[in-house]
Symmetry: C2
Subunit: 420 residues, 2 copies
């Protein structure tokens, strides 16, 4: 690059801000047209994208990326088609902008409306999956926001190809320049500069591992919404229906262990541990799950690895489950509030009073009564799509869809009112 990083990023942010003012006023039809045109372009330019991806993969092999990383980096016909389809799916969702969230007329005749509006400019910092480029861009554009994307260095070629194809399509139908921009340098300095541009960027959403998110939080003066790990718990109460408990524990742990809404810790009431835990453990082991247990657990089931303090804080993302026997719902709640990540936690019980205590007192984005934590997901919640699952406690908790990428403004209509 011939210009310096600071100027490069500042110019990018300025362009994004300008574009955001056009997006505020853009009709749903227009935004949908852009998304559909982009989808078409991804299909037409598939070979161009796959070629860039092949080079990223070669580079990745040379620098000894893990198999898992390479698998995440890989694009093929099917994945590009999914990206295109994703854009069309977002186009089909309702426009979140301009909803009247509240309306009141004051005694002095002022009519105050609270109207949903785009947040403005959103920066998304993400890791290796190149499909995030199109997924995140689609959600931001549909919700009326300009977006600045910064992907991982392993995927820089793929991301640039995808962004280029999308932008060519957008420019053909006169979308505002600067609506979708990708940081085209892998220099870390670019991110650090970006994270301080409060005047132009309204929100940053980091998507990736804990290290990435912590670095963003520490460097940002822009507001951040964090999508931290999911240390999700299933508490099997003394009044649990054992069949529900078995199905839910197996589902929450095994159906897709590598995702954030999978369970990592099983809490079980000591009054039923002796009868229920062996059944649950047998089912889990049949599914290939490694069990790590507290001292009391080890007295009930054989060959269990002893869990320590670190286990309660660990998101295994694997077929491993930690188990703790607790004295009842109060201890379960305390354990979850101490060690959980405010993501998703479930109680299995037939006792509605106990359930209500748990649902009230557990501090998580999503609390479940007799259902699997695996349902914490924009699609499953009926939002259509999500940009991630917030573990923060301001603005948005849990799945963030189009509505959560909006904020509001107050529009006040008068006929000359002044304040007395």
């Amino acid at each position: 690059m011939t210009i310096n990083i600071k100027d490069y990023v500042l110019e990018m942010a300025r362009k994004a801000k300008d574009a955001s003012y056009s997006l505020v006023a853009m009709s749903a039809d227009n935004k949908n047209k852009i998304l559909k045109e982009m989808a078409k372009a991804l299909r037409n330019k598939k070979d161009f994208i796959l070629k860039a991806n092949k080079e990223d993969l070669k580079e990745g092999e040379n620098s000894n990326l893990s198999e898992a990383m390479l698998e995440r980096l890989l694009l093929d016909n099917k994945r590009v088609e999914q990206m295109a389809k994703g854009l069309e799916d977002v186009a089909a969702l309702d426009d979140p902008v301009g909803r009247v969230l509240d309306k009141r007329t004051r005694p002095n005749g002022l009519e105050i409306s609270k109207i949903s509006v785009p947040i403005g400019v959103i920066a998304i910092i993400f890791e290796s999956r190149p499909n995030v480029t199109s997924d995140a861009a689609a959600l931001c554009i549909k919700s009326g926001n300009a977006v600045i994307l910064r992907g991982g260095k392993e995927a820089i070629g793929s991301n640039m190809a995808i962004a280029q194809v999308m932008n060519e399509a957008a420019s053909r139908i006169k979308a505002p320049d600067g609506m979708l921009q990708l940081v085209e340098t892998t220099d870390r300095e670019a991110v650090n500069e970006l994270l301080k541009l409060n005047s132009y960027i309204d929100l940053v959403i980091p998507r990736g591992g804990e290290g990435l998110i912590k670095a963003v939080v520490e460097n940002a003066t822009i507001p951040v919404i964090k999508h931290y790990k999911g240390i999700c718990h299933i508490y099997v109460d003394k009044d649990a229906d054992i069949d529900k408990a078995l199905d839910i524990v197996i589902n929450a742990k095994c159906q897709r262990p590598g995702v954030c809404n999978a369970a990592e810790t099983l809490l079980i009431d000591e009054q039923i541990a002796r009868t229920h835990l062996p059944l649950i453990a047998a089912r889990l082991r049949k599914s290939g799950v490694e069990l790590r247990g507290c001292e009391k657990t080890a007295r009930i089931i054989k060959d269990v690895v002893r869990a320590d303090e670190q286990d309660w804080k660990t998101e295994y993302l694997d077929l491993i489950l930690s188990i703790k026997i607790v004295g009842g719902v109060a201890e379960a709640i305390k354990h979850i509030n101490d060690y959980g990540s405010m993501h998703s936690d479930a109680i299995i019980t037939e006792n509605k009073v106990t359930a209500s205590k748990f649902l009230n007192m557990v501090d998580a984005s999503s609390v479940y009564f007799n259902a699997s934590t695996r349902f914490t997901d924009g699609g499953e919640f009926g939002m259509g799509a999500e940009i991630g699952i917030s573990t923060d406690k301001i603005h948005a908790r849990g799945p963030m869809g189009l509505e959560e990428l909006n904020i509001y403004k107050y529009v006040i209509k008068g006929d000359g009112q002044i304040r007395e």
Copy 2:
């Protein structure tokens, strides 16, 4: 202090987190009882508070605080009564916790409710007015949040006395310990430590000058909601009713010039500047307002100080108004988006199409059509009370009342659902 600052602040944050779990489940009646008991105590212990305040004032005079600062620091019978009354007013408001914000049943039978819950632990960093101690505490407690207060060093004695009286009252009726805590050291290190305690503190709200807010933003890893300055604009369109324009400009500038929703800049369409501006300027001057104008303004009205770039960015908080003649609504919008602080901006026009463009495109928390910007206020908006006026673009914009001190959680009820 005998223990070190880091441990002191950490212990405080831990206690606040514990208290927040009790507050989540506390009934509205109970919270109201606490607030009313506190109000009673403020009245009963008035002399104790005034004595502490007198010492702060003496100290302030010795260290040459300005008259304005001393005035803000001063407590008297009337102000203590206002504080007590403020607590009772907050007690009388509806409980924001537990509202069902949305509810849906999914095809698989899961019942998903979005329920308002307290944010958790809120830290308020504020400057000299000691009444913030009781006002902010009341709003946090009523909304179910534990609160950590850190006031200015000039008011430390007054703040400690107020917090002590409130806490004694609270403990008489068994409110959770740690619900209301004041940082009792003026060491800056305490704030810097506080601002990094993400695991315990969920939100920080700085209230005060720009310097304070910037320092908080730069040091915090906790989410911050900023209440920056108000650079508010009135745009008088070519289709304005001159009588409305006159009344609104005078009201927005003069009724209370020292507050954030007062107007700082008048924008006027060049097509009517020659006829309307002299009338407006005369009325403003009659009210003692100093006028600073752009080049074109200086050609129309006499003896106007020339406004420069800096004027457009300045919150005078005084009887000074900057004036710019613009080419129409588009230029007005651009000026506001470039120089405004996203607080409150108004258009005066009889043309609904022009108004609609302005209301849509101006990026501010509150946009006005034929009314004074002075209405941006929790009370005027019908919220009952406010903790401040957010100029941020996530979580809350404009007046922040009890509802804005809540967030939500998803409560999902099933009967054994697992994800396929």
